[in-house]
């Protein structure tokens, strides 16, 4: 701590900060551009100048750049000094000389850091009346729009894209007052994290192209605190709606989870919510019914039948639990196949009973050695990949600290470290997008596991020994074990994306070995879907065990497309037997098309619920908008509401449109492991100064007119009984009172995402009210056995064993339904080793037919120099390609043209 005097007042601040951080953390408004909490200081924009005095008697002082001035004890500075204020106004004036006067047509307007800073400094009249430099813009793909004329050359974009996210295709060109930020030539931005440019850029150079199609200002959108459903990471998001459409997803700061950044699947993969082909009406054999009639008919059909329910890892805990209540635990399936469920249960077992704590996403960055076993993180849990990249770069901070350079001194840290990295080791089937910061080993899944077992043995020799490994692999395992042992805090990342139990068992052994050697290690296990871990905690039977149905049964399928999990033949067979198939979903899945009863379910944007992320963090997502406000006949409801309503109807009670809190409470009460979900977010009764929390910014406009084409009499706004939020600008939206659940970041004078500063205990730190979510799992360390080593991979002559290949764009079931994603989703392909292709006389890019005992597929053949012979990589979730691992392909034949 240090004591500093700012404009005559005395404050206690963190002595390791720079002055800008200190001032912002104190809540003072110091304008800045090039500094960013995650990117540190470079001192290039000169916007954050303040006056520093030698002591209390010094009346003249001197200007210093606050982002480059370390806090010193007993420092005297002034933010309000006239000279400093004039200087800051003149800096904005310089930056604005080339900036166009296009705010009214600029999509950044209304959440623009440049606008905010210009207003803050008081520069309000342009004196520059000459030609402005202009640039040509580039076509950067479907996600990010480019408008270079607006650039103020703060360099944040390249510092984020290259230095932080490891991208290589965005650069800065030119010199002095003519610099250009873009690619070398037009083309799709390669980074999976390119969308963050729209928030990192302080002005409108990089904007969200998906929002552009149906644009409106931030102040005219309705928001809710939500959780990304794109993968199991559980990033916090702030989706914005207008006219019943989701229009943009922005990052929502959670100091323990995603902090400032999202991946492009999470940010841009929301279009499935807006699809016009979504089921929106209750259907009985294709005929639309009113809700009451539907319930009456459905109750008739369900009476005296065995009800069987199939849950889903992409549905909320509340919905899954409501289904479980309706059908009874003995008839409830998780909706996962036997093998998926076994992997998930093992994952949960390792987390609950293993020795190592699960790392939070932010804490991943604080580890000094990382071993990624079997996961291609960029594709399966992208935000974790970005965090692992930061962990590798932690070495630079350590070297800098040794030279007494503060961690926020971004360029000095980078320069002194000269690309030095903490060790990251990735064992995977093929190349990954993190390989540039890692050592790698490529092998078949079983051999990856054996490598993991060998590492465990080298860490702690009481772990089972692996025999039959080559000297080269042994040496790699030994050197990795040594670097994990040498680290202060090693991190082990694994998961189930390859469908390999042995990989998880190897991870468990490594965890135990690290614990035996008393390392302060952590673990992070990736699971397949947004609520996979929640479902594991809830429990249920595997899919196969409830599919032996009879005509007397009624089957409920909750937000789950069975055709993605089992062979079509198997599903067809099971579904053909039931006379009453009730499907609750929000998309036209293959399963839904088979339903007698369709109950239109809400997506995350129209629903409240709770998810458990791979960290074991229970997080609540809240309804962004009420679709019935614009479409009075819309029957979309949360699945838990449908199921609970049905349950009441079956019991002959009046339909009780229960509160979210009741649904959550019922789930928490029924499952002890889920007791913590009550505290994942405040209850519906939560108020601040007697107010609900506003979903809309204070300046929300047009409410009286927006429904006029339906009826000129403006109805009452939807009333939210379920949550503490109001569908209105009326309610609390300030920063003074403590709250964790923040629909949108806004503070007086701060309209851009920089407004998060105002909610944090210190800039870039944690929310003052605590970061949202509750961790449900802490390890007991009770598991004490070693898993035994699996058998080595044996290629089978003439046959190919499939391994799943995951894609950030395409493998996520819902995001793949988003129209804007289509151009980024790979066409159906298969990948085999170059050796196999040569043996079969097949060339890269050939159209081939794959034949297994049950089906045949036509795909494009890709070759890999890394994939092991005898394996065939098949992309997960790409249409027509079966998703399960371990499929045997008997033949690959070139298609005759």
């Amino acid at each position: 701590m240090a004591t500093i005097h700012i404009d005559g007042k005395t404050y206690e601040v963190d002595g390791s900060d720079n002055l800008l951080q200190a001032c912002l953390s104190l809540g003072l408004d110091v304008p800045y551009f090039c500094w960013h909490p995650s990117l540190g200081s470079v001192g290039s924009c000169r916007q954050c100048a303040v006056t520093q005095y030698n002591d209390e008697n010094d009346k003249r002082g001197r200007l210093v750049m606050s982002c480059m001035a370390p806090v010193q004890d007993n420092m005297w500075i002034s933010v309000e000094d006239e000279e400093a204020k004039k200087f800051r106004a003149s800096v904005v004036e310089w930056l604005m000389t080339n900036h166009p006067h296009d705010c009214p047509v600029c999509e950044e307007g209304g959440h623009c850091h440049l606008q905010d800073m210009t207003v803050m400094t008081g520069h309000n009249k342009r004196r520059y009346r000459f030609t402005k430099r202009t640039h040509q813009n580039q076509e950067l793909g479907p996600f990010v729009a480019h408008e270079m004329n607006r650039c103020i050359a703060c360099y944040r974009c390249v510092r984020y894209y290259k230095d932080y996210a490891g991208g290589t295709d965005l650069g800065v060109y030119g010199a002095h007052d003519n610099v250009y930020f873009g690619r070398v030539e037009d083309g799709v931005l390669e980074s999976e994290f390119s969308g963050n440019l729209t928030e990192v850029c302080p002005t409108g150079v990089f904007t969200d192209k998906t929002h552009s199609e149906r644009y409106n200002r931030k102040w005219d959108m309705q928001f809710a605190p939500s959780i990304c459903h794109g993968c199991s990471t559980g990033c916090n998001i702030s989706p914005g709606e207008r006219y019943g459409e989701l229009r943009r997803i922005e990052n929502r700061f959670n100091g323990e989870v995603n902090q400032y950044f999202l991946c492009d699947r999470g940010r841009f993969g929301y279009g499935y919510v807006n699809r016009t082909d979504r089921p929106r009406q209750v259907l009985l054999d294709g005929q639309a019914l009113s809700i009451d009639t539907a319930f009456a008919r459905l109750s008739d059909r369900l009476k005296a039948r065995r009800l069987v329910g199939i849950g889903s890892p992409r549905a909320s805990l509340e919905s899954n639990h409501a289904l479980k209540e309706l059908v009874g635990a003995e008839n409830f399936s998780t909706g996962l196949t036997q093998s998926e469920q076994e992997l998930l249960e093992l994952t949960l077992d390792i987390l609950q009973n293993g020795p190592l704590p699960t790392s939070t996403l932010r804490d991943v960055e604080a580890h000094d050695a990382v071993f990624v076993l079997g996961e291609d993180l960029t594709q399966t849990a992208p935000r974790i990949a970005l965090a692992v990249r930061q962990a590798a770069k932690g070495k630079a901070t350590e070297i800098a600290a040794g030279m007494k350079i503060q961690d926020w001194h971004a360029l000095a840290v980078k320069n002194v470290a000269q690309n030095a990295l903490y060790p990251v080791f990735i064992a995977s089937t093929q190349e990954t997008r993190l390989d540039d910061v890692a050592d790698t080993l490529h092998a078949a899944p079983a051999d990856l596991a054996r490598f993991g077992f060998a590492v465990a043995h080298f860490i702690d020799n009481t772990a089972p020994v692996v025999t039959g490994l080559s000297n080269e692999v042994l040496a790699q395992a030994q050197s990795l074990a040594l670097s994990l042992l040498a680290a202060r805090r090693p991190l082990l990342v694994a998961g189930s994306s390859l469908g390999s139990r042995a990989i998880l068992e190897a991870a468990a052994n490594i965890a135990k070995a690290l614990k035996n050697r008393e390392k302060a290690a952590s673990i992070s296990l990736v699971v397949p879907e947004a609520n996979s871990l929640g479902l594991a905690l809830l429990g249920g039977k595997p899919l196969e065990s409830v599919l032996d149905l009879s005509t007397a049964d009624a089957l409920f399928v909750l937000e789950n497309d069975l055709y993605r999990r089992l062979d079509a033949q198997r599903v067809d067979e099971a579904l053909s037997k039931v006379s009453t198939l009730v499907v609750l979903d929000h998309q036209q899945t293959e399963t839904l098309k088979k339903a007698q009863f369709v109950l239109p379910a809400a997506t995350f944007a129209e629903a409240d619920g709770t998810l458990v992320s791979q960290e074991g963090r229970a997080q609540r997502f809240f309804q962004v908008f009420d679709p019935t406000f614009y479409k009075p006949g819309d029957q979309v409801r949360e699945s838990w509401r449908w199921l609970h309503g049905l349950s009441s109807a079956l019991k002959g009670q009046a339909i009780d449109w229960t509160l979210l809190d009741h649904a959550t409470e019922a789930c928490a009460a029924a499952v002890p492991a889920l007791a913590g979900i009550r505290d994942a977010a405040p209850k519906a009764s939560f108020r601040i100064k007697g107010l609900k929390l506003a979903r809309e910014p204070l300046r929300y406009s047009g409410r009286t007119a927006m429904r006029a084409k339906i009826n000129v009499h403006e109805p009452r706004i939807p009333q939210d009984q379920d949550t503490a939020f109001a569908f209105s600008m009326e309610g609390y939206s300030g920063t003074q009172e403590l709250r964790q659940q923040i629909p949108f970041a806004w503070a007086p004078g701060w309209n851009s995402p920089s407004a998060w500063n105002k909610f944090q205990d210190e800039v870039g730190g944690h929310l003052r009210a605590g970061d949202p979510g509750v961790r449900l799992i802490e390890p007991s360390g009770a598991d004490s056995h070693w898993f035994s080593v699996c058998a080595a991979y044996q290629p089978e002559a003439g046959r190919f064993i499939s391994v799943p290949v995951h894609h950030i764009f395409g493998s996520g079931e819902m995001s793949a339904l988003t129209p804007v994603m289509q151009s980024r989703i790979p066409a159906p392909y298969a990948v085999v080793s170059s050796e196999d292709a040569e043996r079969l006389g097949l060339k890269d890019g050939a159209q081939v037919q794959l034949r297994s005992d049950t089906q045949s597929l036509t795909v494009t053949l890709n070759l890999s120099t890394q994939l092991q012979p005898g394996l065939i990589g098949l992309p997960v979730g790409i249409s027509a390609i079966p998703v399960k691992a371990g499929l045997v392909i008997d033949a690959i034949e070139e298609c005759v043209q």
């Binding site: 290589t168 295709d169 965005l170 650069g171 060109y173 030119g174 010199a175 690619r183 070398v184 000269q418």
Partner: protein, 166 residues
Amino acid sequence: MSPTELIQTDRFVLSETERSAIEHEMHHYEDPRAASIEALKIVQKARGWVPDGAIPAIADILGIPGSDVEGVATFYSQIFRSPVGRHIIRVCDSMTCYIGGHETLLESVQNALGIGLGQTTADGRFTLLPVCCLGNCDKAPALMIDEDTFGNATPEGMAALLEQYP
């Protein structure tokens, strides 16, 4: 030949000499990135300028992103990114030369060649560029033609001087 015909992005191939010179240069440094400027100079020396196609070719040898090479190539004003004449005339316009008669000197060169700053004569013989200092302030005004620096330059002497560069 029009300048556009010279821009070969698709079919650019580094000559064997250029390639080996770059590889040789690269080994002088711990980080191959450090050879970026030298690599660009090697290409420019061989071709007079650095075509767009050279950027990915150089990036490939150095093992760094093309955007980094392009960043360096566009930062330095003496790396030429469009075709130039056989001879480069750099006329110093810094403070001392300005006082010493830069304006009349520049005018005489422009009149003699019929081109303005940043332009190339139709016969491809000269390109005229401004330069901010040649380190020749004691002999202002100064100019440089290719590798040769001239001090105390006069408008009258320009015709004869230019004759030396066919």
